[in-house]
């Protein structure tokens, strides 16, 4: 099994007012199969752009993304995506949402129903199968989104701030769920987040990106994800290294943010 290679990607596009933006510059990243990667950075560092390029929604101006030895040309079912919110189909029930991927492949109904039942049990929504998605709470909706993504058996799961809109308690429960699913399924997961704590907990490998142009600033190898599997996340957070790393990254991002602010003020 091969992983995912982000090969020297740059992205630059023209603005209507004549200027241009260097959103990403020479980003290279080799992600092994089954790796849990979290990406962190101040706003405007190009982390969402990077994810959209991997998903195939955007084309880089230079470089390429290679998944399973094939260059990415567009979106595909081997790269599943979980969005922040609002990506579920309100006109479908929970069950129909989860079976969307299998249905697109014209999988026989009895097979897809088996997958749906199993995954809804995994995410703890077996009693909500026939509910409309707008009847569910925000946390439940994100569980559906996870199950929908998993039902399609992707090799890589791309998550664009999937827990960003949830309240703190729900968020912590969902973090545990993501860790457990990662361990259970062995999928490669790339997770974009604003939250330093989330990036620490949900990243064996953590990338801090810097803005203007968007690039990889620093990379960490972290033990917390492994520690958090099936364990109490609050216990993990008490680990002395956790607090130390968190402070280090926070300081780094503060510095970048202030640099951006300073630059904006100069230009203004």
């Amino acid at each position: 099994m091969s992983g995912l290679l982000i090969d020297n990607i740059s992205m630059r596009f023209d603005l209507p007012n004549g200027g241009s933006v260097q959103a990403l510059k020479n980003v290279t990243l080799d992600i092994k199969s089954g790796e849990l990667l979290s990406v962190l950075g101040p706003s405007g560092c190009g982390k969402t752009t990077l994810l959209n390029i991997v998903a195939g929604f955007l084309a880089p101006t230079e470089g390429q993304v290679v998944v399973n030895d094939h260059a990415v040309k567009g979106p595909g079912p081997e790269r599943g995506m979980v969005f922040q919110q609002g990506a579920l189909f309100e006109w479908m029930t929970v069950r129909e949402n989860v079976s969307f991927g299998p249905d697109m492949k014209k999988m026989p109904r009895q097979d897809s129903m088996k997958i749906v039942d199993r995954l809804l049990e995994v995410v703890g929504l077996q009693d909500f199968k026939d509910k409309a998605v707008y009847e569910l709470s925000g946390g439940m909706q994100q569980r559906v989104a996870l199950a929908r993504c998993l039902a399609n058996e992707p090799d890589v799961i791309l998550m664009d701030e999937p827990l960003g809109a949830l309240d703190a308690l729900t968020r912590e429960k969902m973090q545990s769920l993501v860790l457990d699913l990662w361990k259970e399924t062995g999928k490669t997961i790339i997770l974009i987040t604003h939250s330093v704590e989330e990036a620490l907990l949900l990243g064996e490998r953590l990338l801090v990106m810097a803005p203007r142009p968007g690039r990889i600033h620093k990379e960490y190898r972290l033990p917390f994800a492994e520690m958090g599997v099936g364990a109490d996340l609050r216990a993990v957070k008490k680990h002395p290294d956790y607090a130390k790393t968190r402070e280090e990254i926070l300081a780094m991002i503060w510095e970048m943010e202030e640099e951006i602010m300073g630059r904006t003020e100069e230009s203004a």
Partner: protein, 436 residues
């Protein structure tokens, strides 16, 4: 004048009933729901709900005013009515040599709609005969005549006198009161005047009620409705007229939707179609369908075809724009998610774009139906054999105001029913609307 009184009464009913209902609600009902605990309601749209008591009183008030200000026979409050019956006055004819003589004029004021009513045997009413009077003594002779309510008449008092105007006779007094030409006397029965040329003129008092020609009483309108239902109008039953209009609207709307929705999707999904159809749609959208009627008649004649095509055009642009904005309203995350789950373009269209645009399409359908229903009536004003618009137009030419009102009420009720129908369908097909 009557209009201002009507408005004042209406405003008074509005205000007084509001105060009474508010008092009664407070006195006799205790509400314990959440909204009742809100202190800020002015400005909080969610706290504003239609007061059903107000709706009922509103409809009843219109009905009561309708009764009060028409010559209705219903035993409800009535505004002062027009004078009806016999009025008499005297005039004094004076000759150039100073001789003068008095004579009486008897006027019978009869209901102006007497020929439209039926007596107990079902025979149509007749204009009554002039009251019988003696010619009387002296050279001025008594006169008699009939005037309809809301009418007026110049009274040729000299026609049966011994001395006429050509003999130098002039009217100097009315009811014993000296009058010069141009002056008038107000009686409780009406206005008595001497014209500039010296001819007596009588106008019976009209009161505050409207004549049948302007607004027929509710029971007259109801009877007319029942009669139309029984006998039809102009060779077609009322149902056939209604169905003719409805059929044109439905055909026009369905064709408009069948063409407009795919057109809107194309405009929302491809650059070329957006660029190609944008000028056409944006140009045609502000053109009112009514302005196209002459062209439709020139191109397609006066038959059904031109009417259905007109309604098709009325619905087409509205549906196209609704579908286009339905497509642009799709959250990009949903489209991305569907592609990531392996959907192809045709699957994206069927499973994501079409369902997501349904709320917009329903809003468009309601607007289009309203416009079509309004346009069909106008389209039928020109050379139609049947249809509610034709019925109204022809009835208006014969001054049959009751038929006009029956038609208007039917149009309103059916339009309302169509709107409710679409809303029900929307609630059933788009249950997620407003909940996301």
């Amino acid at each position: 004048m009557t209009g201002l009184i009507l408005l004042a009464v209406y405003i008074a009913i509005f205000a007084v009933s509001m105060v009474i209902v508010a008092w009664a609600t407070k006195r006799f009902f205790t509400r314990a729901d959440f909204t009742s605990l809100k202190t800020v309601t002015f400005g909080d749209e969610s706290a504003v709900k239609a007061n059903r008591a107000a709706s009922v009183i509103s409809v009843l008030a219109i009905f009561a005013l309708w009764v009060a200000f028409t010559n209705s026979s219903l035993p409800l409050f009535k505004a002062k009515g027009p004078f009806e019956g016999i009025v008499e006055f005297t005039y004094t004819s004076t000759l150039p040599d100073g001789r003068s003589d008095d004579a009486t004029v008897s006027i019978l004021v009869y209901p102006e709609d007497v020929q439209l009513t039926e007596d107990a045997n079902g025979a149509p009413g007749k204009i009554p005969n002039k009251p019988d009077v003696d010619l009387g003594e002296g050279f001025a002779k008594n006169d008699t005549l009939v005037i309809p309510r809301y009418g007026s008449k110049l009274i040729s008092v000299f026609q049966n006198d011994e001395f006429k105007k050509s003999d130098g006779a002039i009217v100097t007094h009315l009811n014993g009161q000296a009058l010069t030409p141009g002056e008038q006397i107000i009686l409780s029965e009406g206005r008595l005047a001497l014209t500039e040329k010296g001819t007596p003129f009588f106008e019976p008092s009209t009161g505050f009620r409207m004549a049948r020609l302007y607004l027929p009483a509710p029971e007259v309108t109801t009877n007319r409705f029942l009669q139309l239902n029984r006998e039809g109008y102009r060779n077609f039953t009322l149902l056939e007229h209604t169905w003719a209009s409805l059929q044109r609207v439905l055909l026009g709307f369905i064709f408009g939707a069948l063409v407009g929705i795919p057109l809107g999707y194309a405009m929302g999904l491809t650059n070329w179609a957006r660029g190609w159809f944008d000028p056409i749609v944006e140009f045609m959208r502000p053109v009112p369908p009514l302005a196209l009627i002459p062209l439709m008649i020139i191109w397609f004649g006066i038959g059904e075809t031109s009417k259905v095509i007109l309604l098709f055009l009325a619905a087409l642009w509205i549906m196209a724009i609704a579908a286009r904005s339905g497509v642009s309203g799709v959250a990009i995350a949903k489209v991305h998610a569907a592609y990531s789950l392996g959907a192809k373009k045709s699957q994206i269209l069927r499973k994501v774009i079409i369902p997501n645009s349904l709320p917009e399409i329903f809003t468009g359908a309601r607007v289009a139906m309203g416009v079509c229903w309004g346009t069909v009536v106008a389209a039928e004003l020109v050379a139609a054999e049947k249809g509610l618009g034709m019925m109204i137009m022809v009835a208006a030419k014969f001054q049959l105001t009751d038929i006009v009102i029956v038609g208007i009420i039917l149009i309103g009720v059916i339009g309302f029913a169509i709107d409710i129908g679409i809303r029900k369908l929307e609630g059933w097909l788009v249950p997620w609307k407003g909940k996301v």
